[in-house]
């Protein structure tokens, strides 16, 4: 449930030329009526391209996102946490599998998508390029990064592409358990010893800037995506999503007695919007383009896993005996 903060490319003015105007009008009317678009339906090339890009980024975010938390499975303190964290990270890998399948319905294979991830052609959520130094960092992700992703995913589940929406419905149901687990972990740190409280405060200090980046660049500087909003590919602006997250979670963080490292953070009671120090978008760009603290390590892990597993995948494609479904 790590998706969110998708980056969209600017759309060139000629990308819709060549589309049949009658089919395009029918397509847009269907979306307007709230119908879902299915894999065999007609769709503009641009819609297909943008959806593949978005679902693929989301799938990559799930499997790369499994790494910073996954490294804490072997260190989780006590049976309760160890079992819950294993189950949670397993869910995330399962979401990756579900999303790759959804993207495959648009014509790009899982292998191609993973190749593009490894060679840097396609992106994943920027937040996973930051390191998890302590158990509290892992708890931050389970609670607040998952919370941010849920904000995005609940919105996207109302989008127009059937297979993606159905995958998101299932993902959101599981995510709600992750959120409870993460919140529970943080409550224990908050009500624990001074060491535990300090651990989480330090994690909050480290993770707040990437968390603000998570929803993508400010609407003032992000590329224009009106057509994607009209086609219900993108379901809300980055600033709307960020504001919704702050509205839901800042009070909960404060309630636990922690300090959010932004002295300008406050809710404007007149507008109902949150005000905050503008995140450093130069850093965001730097990290998304490969120069973050963990980009190389994350992709290297993925590359090694792919290479070490190649003989297994090849052996699956070369069965010498007929496969028989085992009886349960």
């Amino acid at each position: 449930m790590y998706g969110g903060g998708n980056t969209f490319e600017g759309i060139k003015s000629d990308e819709l030329t060549g589309e049949d105007p009658i089919k395009l009008a029918e397509f847009e009317a269907r979306i307007e009526r709230g119908e879902k678009i299915e894999p065999s339906d007609w769709m503009p090339k641009l819609y297909r391209k943008q959806l593949i890009r978005m679902i693929e980024q989301h799938a990559h975010s799930e499997i790369i996102g499994a790494l910073p938390e996954g490294t804490w499975i072997t260190r989780a303190p006590g049976f309760k946490r160890k079992m819950a964290l294993m189950a949670k990270v397993q869910d995330e890998v399962g979401h990756g599998q579900l999303l790759y399948s959804a993207a495959e319905t648009l014509g790009k294979s899982r292998e191609e998508m993973i190749d593009d991830l490894i060679n840097g052609k396609s992106k994943y959520s920027n937040i996973f390029n930051y390191p998890t130094f302590t158990w509290a960092d892992c708890c931050f992700i389970s609670w607040l990064v998952d919370a941010g992703a849920i904000v995005n995913q609940l919105a996207n589940a109302k989008g127009s592409y059937g297979p993606y929406c159905r995958a998101l419905d299932r993902i959101c149901a599981e995510e709600s358990f992750h959120l409870k687990y993460g919140h529970h972990c943080v409550i224990y740190l908050a009500s624990g010893t001074q060491t535990q409280r300090d651990m989480f405060q330090e994690a909050l200090n480290r993770w707040w800037p990437p968390m603000m980046h998570f929803f993508g660049p400010s609407d003032k500087i992000s590329v224009h995506t009106e057509i994607l909003m009209k086609w219900k590919v993108k379901m809300g602006t980055n600033d709307d999503m960020r504001n919704q997250f702050l509205d839901m979670y800042v009070p909960k963080i404060w309630e636990l007695g922690f300090t959010i490292p932004d002295p300008n953070l406050k809710k404007n009671t007149e507008t109902g919007r949150w005000e905050y120090t503008e995140p450093d978008w130069e850093e965001f760009k730097r990290v998304i383009n490969g120069d973050g603290p963990c980009n190389k390590e994350r992709l290297e892990v993925r590359r090694i896993a792919e290479e070490r597993g190649r003989w297994v995948r090849e052996a699956l494609r070369t069965p010498k005996t007929a496969y028989v479904t085992p009886l349960a």
Binding site: A66, I73, T74, P77, M83, V89, Q90, Y100, R308
Partner: protein, 251 residues
């Protein structure tokens, strides 16, 4: 009932499940394909859950609470068989270990579901149902990869030969063997080993792998009495890294 005999049996089973569960969980994020990543993670959860159920019985018999037992002992206080503590290495070794180990555990829990020690019989009845899926998974993959490409057959053969002496270590004779049999708590390691050999032969015969003659394999014993390889202590240090920051804290 002979409490010492029961405790010895419970400790070695619980430690086996915990340590192999921990190793399986290390595949999370690194599997050769997503489906296998997920499968190993599922089995890890089951195994760690089984260890918790067994440590809970020990706790009822007067031992410390499960978290303390699992997260504060040193390697020489663990009774797992050495097979479970070896590093995951490549997928072929992890798969062969999973096959050899779970074949034995499925049989063990099946036998224990008839144990005269009721708390164990109850847990075993539940666990044997879950282990059916573990053996089904192992058998499916061993049959598939053990008869596919030259590379997959070669890798599995090599791992099989490497793992077999350690697998025989699962059945290291227990000083309480005759007590356990006499009181109908457990049919014993010897009986389990014989059943296990038949099952392993049955599956390997459906592949292009070659099983060495049993009498040529020297069992690697020691794990049951706390004699471990250099791999166990670092695993335990990692497992307890956060817990030991403050063992009295609640996490």
């Amino acid at each position: 009932m002979n409490q010492e005999a029961i405790k010895e049996l419970l400790y070695k089973m619980a430690d086996d499940q915990l340590i192999l569960g921990h190793r399986n969980s290390e595949w999370t994020g690194f599997g050769p394909l997503l489906e296998e990543d997920i499968a190993f993670s599922s089995m890890a959860q089951d195994k760690v859950g089984h260890s918790l159920a067994l440590y809970t019985i020990l706790n009822d018999l007067g031992e410390q609470d499960p978290d303390t037992i699992a997260f504060t002992r040193n390697a020489d206080q663990f009774h797992n068989t050495v097979l479970t503590e070896l590093p995951n290495a490549e997928y072929d070794f992890s798969l062969i270990r999973h096959f050899l180990y779970d074949t034995a555990e499925a049989l063990r829990f099946e036998m224990l579901s008839h144990s005269s020690f009721e708390p164990l019989a109850l847990v075993a009845t539940k666990v044997r149902g879950e282990l059916r899926y573990h053996t089904m998974h192992a058998n499916t993959w061993v049959k598939q990869l053990g008869a596919a490409t030259e590379e997959s057959i070669g890798r599995l053969q090599q791992s099989l030969e490497l793992a077999l002496p350690y697998a025989l270590g699962i059945f290291e004779p227990s000083p309480y063997e005759s007590d356990l049999i006499k009181e109908a708590i457990f049919e014993g390691e010897k009986a389990l080993e014989e059943k296990w050999k038949k099952k392993v032969e049955e599956v390997i015969a459906q592949t292009q792998l070659h099983l060495p003659k049993w009498e040529t394999i020297a069992p690697h014993y020691g794990g049951r009495t706390g004699k471990h390889t250099e791999y166990l202590q670092p695993l335990l240090d990692e497992m307890s890294e956060v817990f030991k920051i403050d063992p009295t804290a609640e996490w």
